[in-house]
């Protein structure tokens, strides 16, 4: 099932982020951070790399979806921007210590999965002020899962085209299951 920029905009609308009237979407390069640390493209690359692990293999075109969603969220939410950048720094730091790569996004998909497992992210409680694993779960993994499973395409994967968190109108609940 192909994710689209439209899915990202739908998920953003549900999250209360209005992106330029729905027509204009920022690219990662168009967002700037004033202080040192991961750049906007770094953050987006890390989120895309994580999505390739935590999203099901049934979805395609996740790069555009994650990029559109994440850039808008980073731009609209200063607290999230600060948290996700610090978390990406921590992820990359672990990568440098435990592999030959400089950045988490540079690892193979299997390598990323292994690193997240080793860091205990899968079983960590999401907590924006918690341990590194808990912050990764909160700022990276759950951010991505929330985006996917509140989008119509993500919902359809499970069998619900109007998932909780998405303003999909008041018709779908009246309809029976697809034939």
């Amino acid at each position: 099932m192909e994710l689209s920029r439209r899915d990202a905009l739908a998920a953003l609308a549900g999250a209360g982020v209005v992106v330029g009237g729905g027509a204009f979407v920022l690219e990662p390069e168009e967002v700037t951070f004033e202080d040192e640390g991961p750049t906007p493209p770094d953050v987006v690359e890390t989120l895309v790399a994580t999505a390739q692990v935590v999203y099901p293999s049934a979805v395609t075109n996740l790069d555009e979806f994650v990029e559109t969603y994440s850039v808008a969220r980073v731009e609209a939410r200063p607290a999230y921007r600060e948290g996700v950048r610090a978390t990406v720094t921590a992820l990359d730091g672990y990568t440098r210590v435990h592999s030959d790569e400089e950045r988490f996004a540079d690892l193979s998909a299997a390598g990323r999965e292994v690193q997240l497992q080793r860091m205990g992210v899968k079983s960590a409680e999401p907590d924006p002020r918690g341990t590194t694993a808990e912050r990764i779960r909160y700022y990276v993994v759950n951010e991505l899962l929330y985006a996917l499973y509140t989008s119509p395409t993500g919902g359809k994967l499970v069998g619900i085209e109007n998932p909780q968190g998405y303003p999909g109108g008041s018709d779908s609940y009246q309809r029976g299951p697809p034939e």
Partner: protein
């Protein structure tokens, strides 16, 4: 622990003027539905009104963020409840989770509520006369009937006149009812075979644009937050009151009410502000509308030499007779898709067992057996949100990728469930008092909710689930969960703690919602309920508040 949310609450700067106003006609304490409606009515009638509330004015733009808090773990309280401001005790036989569904702030707990709105049945006002239990109300359905119609217009109610068990009404609902769900259609076949009647549900939720608010857009998170504003919340009438000239002082918990030397009139509400100051808001009339728990606490905290047991408590009944509704439910799974969790509201119910909870039914394929037991009213609901929400599961689990999707597909899709309410009778041992061993952020004793369930309530819970089990069995469900008297929980409808009546020795407020003891103090809201019935109370709260507003206006 929550992600810092810059837009969560407007005004944290301390630059807002929270000093008292001069020459105020009415001071309304509490900005939930009762206080908001009274303030709105008095302000539109041209009176100078000040509303004082313990909590903040929530920024409407923060609602999507609050929805995310509700769905994603680790994001903190949806409406910023908790901490020392909201500390409480629960020393009864059963723990009472007071903070789970209440909200302090402009709009009160209607920010969190489900939004189902019913007129009480005629029998609800006459439990002593009809059932020989508790007391009759000093007013009847006909007394409240015009106020119910008024309240439906104010809140904006979507409904249909298809409920054969509802009390009589003269006018259509302000909006058409929400259409039945696909899930309802599954129940309909089973109910027909058992002879059980289904009908629509009145919702304080826009089925079409109403009063400047949009129709429901289907976020599916009505409780605890509606991001679109299609669900009514009392901040609507606070804004209207302000437009008519009322003033709002938020983040200002009232500490006590002061009376004159005779003790017969309240002279001021003393409130604290975020900068640590304490002020006195004087007024000619005072309306305390802080819900069935905090209203009691404020009265008890306002004791004086003239009112040694607490303000307006000559009867000794302030805080006594605390009642709630109990949740009843049976859930299971079907061998087919049920289409749950698209919306967060209910579209069909059954009130057939309300006035006659022991009634037997029979239909084309079976029957619900009757019962001769002494029972209270039962309200049954056909849920549209049975089973898990996929996104909540995804964010709360410990899987990802294909494993997670497989788990979600296995968990979502086939659930089916009924819910419902039964009510308690007033019992003096169920009460709200002050716990003087614990203090809140302002050094005041916290409320202590002593709560237990009596045998009649337990019997009624079992009767309700017997009916629900029969319906789900007829539907072919594999039953997975049945609520019992031990596993039930409260519906967070705090009733009965400032009971209405004509005898000052047997009640706290009169039929005008005015306290017997203090001539310029009114207490609209669910504390006045004499009995609880089994219907969600907010429409009755609203009707009583509009009635109260009429009485206060006559006194000004």
């Amino acid at each position: 622990m929550s992600e810092p949310a810059a837009t969560a609450t407007a005004d944290t700067s301390g630059e807002v003027d929270r000093t008292p106003s001069e020459r105020v006609d009415a001071c309304v304490v509490g900005a939930g539905p009762a206080g908001a409606l009274v303030a709105y009515r008095l302000a539109t009638a041209g009176y100078d009104v000040v509303i004082v509330d313990a909590g903040p004015r929530f920024d409407p733009d923060s609602r999507p963020d609050r929805m995310e808090r509700a769905i994603r773990p680790g994001r903190g309280s949806v409406w910023d409840m908790g901490g020392e401001r909201d500390a409480f005790s629960a020393s009864g036989d059963r723990f009472y989770p007071l903070n789970q569904a209440r909200v302090k702030g402009i709009g009160g707990s209607t920010l969190h509520w489900q939004g189902m709105v019913f007129r009480n049945h005629e029998a609800d006002f006459e439990r002593r006369s009809r059932d020989g239990v508790a007391r009759d109300w000093p007013i009847d359905y006909d007394d409240l009937r015009p106020y119910y119609a008024d309240a439906e217009r104010e809140l904006g109610v979507a409904g249909a006149a298809d409920n054969p068990f509802a009390p009589p009404r003269d006018e259509p609902y302000p909006m058409p009812a929400f259409a039945p769900s696909y899930s309802d259609s599954l129940f309909a076949d089973a109910c027909e075979r058992l002879g059980v009647t289904m009908h629509s549900v009145p919702n304080a939720r826009n089925s079409e644009g109403y009063d400047g608010r949009s129709a429901c857009v289907g976020y599916g998170t009505c409780k605890p937050v509606c991001p679109s504003g299609a669900k009514y919340s009392a901040d609507v009438h606070v804004r209207k009151a302000e437009a008519a000239g009322a003033r709002v002082i938020d983040r200002a918990p009232v500490q006590r009410l002061e009376t004159d030397s005779s003790g017969e009139r309240v002279t001021a509400a003393v409130y604290a502000t975020p900068d640590g100051s304490e002020y006195r808001q004087e007024a000619r009339q005072f309306v305390v509308a802080c819900g069935g728990v905090e209203t009691v606490r404020l009265l008890l905290l306002s004791k004086s030499t003239r009112h040694p047991n607490g303000l307006a408590n000559t009867s000794g009944l302030v805080g006594r007779g605390f009642m709630d509704h109990l949740f009843v439910g049976v859930g299971g799974t079907l061998d087919r898709r049920t289409r749950q969790n698209h919306v967060g509201y209910i579209t069909s119910e059954c009130h057939e067992f309300y006035d006659d909870p022991g009634t037997a039914t029979s239909g084309t394929g079976g029957a619900v057996p009757g019962s001769d037991a002494d029972l209270g009213p039962i309200k049954l609901e056909f849920l549209n949100y049975a089973g898990p929400s996929p996104v909540e599961m995804a964010c709360g689990g410990n899987e990802w990728g294909d494993d997670l999707l497989e788990t979600l597909r296995g968990a979502y899709g086939n659930h089916i469930a009924m819910g419902g309410l039964v009510g308690q009778l007033p019992n003096d041992s169920n009460r709200v008092t002050l716990d003087r061993s614990r203090t809140d952020a302002y050094g005041n004793p916290v409320p202590d909710v002593r709560w237990s369930l009596d045998a009649r309530t337990k019997r009624t819970i079992e009767r309700a689930t017997e009916i629900q089990r029969a319906i789900l069995t007829e539907l072919g469900a594999e039953i997975g969960s049945v609520v019992t008297p031990e596993t039930t929980g409260p519906a967070f409808h705090h009733m009965g703690t400032t009971r209405m009546g004509t005898d000052p020795a047997e009640s706290v407020v009169d039929e005008r919602l005015r306290t017997h003891d203090v001539v310029n103090l009114s207490l609209p809201g669910s504390g006045a309920f004499v009995t609880s019935g089994a219907l969600n109370p907010t429409l009755t709260i609203a009707a009583l508040s509009l009635k109260c507003a009429d009485a206060v206006e006559k006194s000004l």
